[in-house]
């Protein structure tokens, strides 16, 4: 919130004036109301591996994270460039593989990638879109200094928090929105519906029927699945509601089976089709793959997009962007050591206590080492893991992440944050909702913002020009 020298950063000016005039006790009371509001609404999540545990709330902080109009312009241009490049990359990998032929990305990165689906080779997804919905994780390290931390091209979650956080802020502090010109986020669901409908498959006749596929009420993100289906006015289906009827994927309604045109699936590739992918899966729809190939349904995101999530591939993103757009990346990558390469590995082992080391396929903040925060024992243990299987890891410098204030009992206190804007792609174009999900490390000094590790969220404001 404050720049060098302790003066308030420009985007926070109006908010600060309001905040300083408020009674801390009132804000504290409102913060407690917010928690009750989240509970009644049912915005909870289950932590994996704790099936019997109570549903948990993600901590919500009432101080918004504010981004200026000019910062956002820069960010959104960079994100759009990146998402377009990713989509072009996916198309290329599943067709002529020019980028591999040109030697810009090593072949092993694809051939050894578990998310690579050979059956997608030569397949044209409807509208040419692979990444209908993606989320780009971004960190800010200084004035006008942003880095992309990660691309989420599988089924990025958190968008319901973006929407409900805003809703909560509007309920708690309506007067604030009269003072500060904040850009709307509430049209995300309708943009999502439009974007999905614009990717209808060839066999679709008339208005496309869109459905959201969820693993069910026990999934940690079920709230979000039902929320999005509800907001779009789409059906929320599970595998056992679906079957292939007359060459189409159809859902069992009270009046018989009705075909679905676009399936926004919130299950992994592995669980899509037990006939063609994983025979032990009960989540998917037997035969959906064949319908997909024949142009009977659009699956969003397209099967096989997971290769773009890979953290080893991430380090090649600047090259990938240049290869497909002819431009330099507008948003820089965090410098990354690939431990699969002997020189990189040596360097990483040398300065392990300074680095952040992540599993190539990991997510959710599990299985990572934050060098500066780790004990000698933890570092030694991680060193052994790294030496045993270097290919499984990448390393990055510990960034001096920017902080934004959170509201604590003792007043405002700085905490580290990241930002996940949500990006929609269709043949009609790329839509980025102004803002996104700001995740915040609630413990002092911590750099891990994942909700599974006790991270919280904030409302994210992009100011009007």
């Amino acid at each position: 919130m404050q720049g060098q020298g302790g003066d308030t950063r420009a985007p926070y000016q109006e908010f600060c004036e309001w905040f300083n005039a408020e009674e801390p006790a009132r804000i504290h009371r409102k913060a407690q109301q917010a928690e009750a509001f989240f509970r009644t609404t049912g915005i909870t999540f289950n932590v994996y591996g704790q099936e019997d545990a109570d549903e948990r709330l993600i901590p919500f902080d009432v101080v918004p994270r504010i981004i200026s109009a000019s910062e956002w312009r820069r960010l959104s241009r960079g994100i759009e460039q990146r998402v377009r490049a990713l989509n072009a990359f996916l198309y290329d990998i599943y067709h002529r593989q020019e980028i591999l032929r040109a030697g810009r990305v090593p072949v092993e990165l694809i051939s050894r990638n578990e998310a690579f689906l050979p059956m997608m080779m030569g397949m044209d997804p409807p509208g040419g879109v692979y990444t209908h919905i993606s989320g780009t994780d971004i960190v800010r390290t200084g004035p006008n200094e942003f880095y992309v931390l990660e691309d989420n091209a599988r089924t990025p979650s958190g968008v319901s928090y973006m929407l409900e956080n805003r809703e909560t802020m509007l309920q708690m502090f309506p007067e604030l929105f009269a003072k500060v010109p904040v850009r709307e986020v509430s049209d995300y669901p309708i943009n999502l519906l439009r974007s999905l409908a614009a990717c209808a498959p060839p066999m679709c006749g008339g208005t496309p029927t869109v459905a959201v596929l969820t693993p069910g009420i026990h999934n940690s993100a079920y709230f979000e699945h039902s929320f999005l289906a509800d907001q779009m006015g789409a059906e929320l289906v599970e595998g056992h509601d679906l079957r292939v009827v007359g060459g189409r994927v159809a859902m069992r309604t009270t009046q018989g089976y009705k075909p679905i045109d676009v399936l926004y699936r919130r299950v992994d590739d592995d669980f899509l089709d037990p006939l063609n992918f994983r025979p032990d899966s009960v989540l998917g729809v037997p035969g959906i793959w064949d319908v997909y190939r024949a142009g009977g349904i659009t699956i969003a995101n397209a099967p096989g997009t997971g290769i773009a999530d890979d953290k080893a591939l991430y380090s090649y993103m600047p090259d990938i962007i240049e290869f497909y757009t002819g431009e330099r990346a507008l948003l820089p990558n965090v410098p990354t050591w690939r431990c699969s390469e002997p020189e990189h590995l040596r360097e990483v082992l040398d300065k392990l206590p300074e680095l952040v080391v992540k599993e190539v396929h990991g997510s959710g903040g599990y299985g990572m080492l934050v060098g500066p925060a780790a004990s000698k024992k933890e570092i030694a243990a991680f060193r052994a893991k790294l030496e045993a299987n270097p290919r499984n890891y990448i390393a990055q410098p510990t960034l001096s992440l920017s902080t934004v204030p959170i509201f604590t009992k003792a007043g405002l206190a700085p905490r580290h944050v990241d930002l996940r804007p949500f990006v929609l792609m269709s043949p009609a174009g790329v839509t980025i909702t102004p803002g996104g999900l700001t995740r915040v490390a609630m413990t002092k000094g911590s750099l891990v913002v994942n909700s599974s590790q006790g991270g919280g969220t904030k409302d994210t404001w992009v100011l009007e020009d």
Binding site: G42, S226, R252
Partner: protein
């Protein structure tokens, strides 16, 4: 709409109705246990039978003391019909059907689950029981209010309403089933003093002891009580009222879908054949048999609805 969603709405409504009915049964049992300790144990047993929980209770090996039965009916997770289990089931079904519920209804169901499960974290003391039961009743009133005030009158609405009335008819019929011997004319003829407390238990379990006296004055007779609970069309828990509602709601479904179903035919037949009266004819044909028949037909209707509207594959 999805067959599964229709099923979830149907079951959500059934479970909500069940929690309210069971709260009422506990209330009635508790009163009788307070006022006449000598027969309390057999009363509790018949209340467990009415709630369909006696087998599960017997399996726990506990005796029929007030405290134990009340705890079992309120919060035992081994009892699928305990208030705690039933409210949880209602909420799970509401989550599955979330996209068909208004925010108000979902929040009412969710709040009711949060409130009741917090209330039932620990065993409820005797002197707290009336308060706890009253909170449970209030919670279902809140859900009902949100439901009536905000839901679209579409197919989903009708599925839930059918669930409500099917469950309610089942409950009223069970009460009659367990207590039918009190209503047999032979007993009344024998001339033993009419057991007022027993009658009151029956009427209280359907929240109608006041309504009865409004209608029939001070006279308490087996025939009148049976008529009131079975045939009286203005009594919202009578079999005739419930079956009329089922006919109506299935009728709207059929018209909305432009498709007649076997379930519609069965509901109509149940209403025409079983609830035309008069009460004397029912007694002549055997009250016990009549109720057994009704329960069977009601259950068959539930299965037919599930098939006709594809709740499951």
């Amino acid at each position: 709409m999805l067959g599964k969603t229709a099923g979830s709405l149907f079951w959500m409504a059934r479970y909500l109705e069940r929690s309210e009915n069971n709260a009422r049964l506990i209330d009635a049992g508790f009163r009788i246990a307070l006022t006449r300790s000598s027969t309390a144990r057999s009363e509790w047993k018949s209340i467990l039978v009415t709630a369909g929980s006696n087998q599960a209770y017997a399996a726990t090996g506990q005796d029929y003391s007030s405290a134990k039965v009340v705890d079992f009916m309120l919060r035992d997770t081994r009892n699928p019909s305990s208030i705690l289990s039933v409210v949880k089931q209602a909420r799970d079904n509401a989550r599955t059907a979330r996209t068909y519920l208004t925010r108000e209804v979902w929040e009412a169901v969710n709040t009711s689950w949060m409130t009741i499960s917090a209330l039932l974290k620990r065993q409820v003391r005797d002197d707290d029981l009336p308060d706890v039961l009253s909170v449970i009743r209030q919670q279902s009133a809140l859900v009902r209010g949100a439901w009536t005030g905000t839901m679209l009158r579409n197919d989903g609405y009708n599925f839930a309403r059918i669930g409500t009335f099917l469950e309610r008819a089942d409950n009223t019929a069970r009460i009659l089933d367990v207590k039918y011997y009190l209503l047999l004319p032979s007993v009344a003829h024998i001339g033993t003093s009419i057991d007022n407390v027993q009658w009151e238990t029956i009427l209280r379990s359907v929240s109608a002891h006041r309504a009865y006296h409004w209608l029939y004055g001070a006279e308490i007779s087996a025939l009148k009580i049976a008529e009131f609970l079975i045939l009286y069309k203005q009594m919202p828990r009578s079999l005739a009222f419930c079956s009329q509602k089922m006919v109506d709601n299935i009728g709207w479904l059929q018209r909305g879908y432009g498709e007649e179903t076997e379930a519609g035919r069965m509901a109509e037949a149940l209403h025409q054949k079983k609830l035309a009266g008069p009460i004397q004819a029912i007694f002549d044909g055997g009250l016990h048999e009549y109720i057994t028949d009704f329960l069977r037909a009601n259950a068959a209707l539930a299965q037919q609805i599930e098939r006709d509207y594809r709740f499951v594959e």
